[in-house]
């Protein structure tokens, strides 16, 4: 790898290493572009595609992100945007789990759906998209329904899990599995103009609290539907949470639920602790 490291040093423009050289190095040294990316970041050289991540994300932070594995459960409205943003952020390994194929009613909002890929597995479309936008990222497509039975196996090796599901029951199962496996869970849910986000740390019972009134079935999304913009907003907030958790920066939504109303343009943050509850807004 010394020759590879020397090639990267010799062909970096200041502290930046252009994509064309990254690709050239992969061919010349018979390694993957991911291996070239790791070799660059290890010597504090940033692949140029990430230059606008700075100063928010340092080169060493970028290596932390590249060395991470994040699981996305569900590849529909939320999941499509989450996968896109994680891949552009530079998360090195993304595991995407969804049993479904694209249907016509997905086209109004699901990022990877097109008329041409109706009938195609959502996770396959996600893998193709990630290969296109960031070939250094490995996407593991799993065309299965996540459940309490296969969950532990599917999440093995993942540092963070993102909830992009459309079922409250499976969300509660996911929350339980994540807690057992000691994995933080970034949760998002949407309906119509509305959405919410929170992050459950291992040992917390955040999703149980949010859905304590749930007795079965779907939420109000069944009648309100899901327009194009709500999943993009909620998914982006989920990815910001993932980025903070990976880097140990900022204040994640632990014990707090961010509630978004795009119709009134109001954002509430409510405290989810059982006894003492404070609210950040006027409410």
């Amino acid at each position: 790898m010394d020759a590879l490291s020397a090639f990267i040093r010799d062909h970096s423009d200041g502290q930046l290493f252009p994509w064309a050289r990254q690709h050239e190095a992969a061919v010349r040294f018979s390694v993957s572009v991911a291996q070239v990316e790791a070799a660059a970041l290890q010597q504090n050289i940033l692949p140029a595609r990430y230059q606008r991540n700075r100063q928010a994300i340092s080169v060493s932070d970028q290596f932390t992100i590249f060395s991470s594995c994040v699981a996305v459960i569900g590849c529909g409205g939320l999941g499509g945007y989450v996968v896109e943003e994680l891949a552009r952020l530079g998360v090195g390994r993304i595991v995407v789990i969804d049993p479904d194929v694209f249907e016509e009613h997905n086209l109004n909002r699901q990022l990877f759906s097109t008329p041409a890929n109706l009938g195609r597995a959502k996770v396959e479309a996600a893998a193709a998209r990630v290969r296109e936008i960031n070939p250094a990222v490995t996407l593991a497509p799993i065309q299965k329904a996540f459940s309490i039975d296969n969950g532990a196996e599917l999440l093995n090796g993942c540092q963070i899990v993102v909830d992009a599901l459309d079922s409250i029951q499976v969300r509660l199962e996911l929350a339980e599995i994540c807690s057992t496996m000691n994995i933080p869970l970034v949760h998002g849910a949407i309906a119509g103009w509305f959405g919410h986000v929170t992050t459950q740390f291992p040992g917390d019972t955040t999703l149980q609290t949010i859905y304590r009134s749930w007795k079965g079935g779907k939420g109000v999304e069944q009648t309100l539907g899901n327009p194009s913009f709500t999943p993009a907003v909620v998914a982006s907030i989920e990815v910001a949470e993932v980025c903070k958790l990976l880097l140990g920066q900022g204040n994640p939504l632990r014990g707090r639920q961010l509630i978004i109303d795009l119709l009134s343009m109001e954002i509430q943050v409510i405290d989810l602790h059982e006894e003492i509850v404070t609210v950040a807004s006027e409410f």
């Binding site: 509305f194 009134s213 109303d261």
Partner: protein, 74 residues
Amino acid sequence: MNITVKLFASFRTGRFDIETGDYPAGTTVADVADSLNLPQSELGIMMINNRHVKLDRQIAEGDILALFPLLGGG
């Protein structure tokens, strides 16, 4: 007794954002939801004076009840 009810998200449609009303003593969260035609299956977070409560909780004079719908889409 006077109770202030705050509604959020889709619960506001055709109803109100905030309203103070006169309710009989012993009124519960479920009674208020029923009076507003809010199906119990759609109720998510429920809070009185910023504390989480359940449907059978009795409300007291001057309390502020906040109701959020259950969201589950992705």
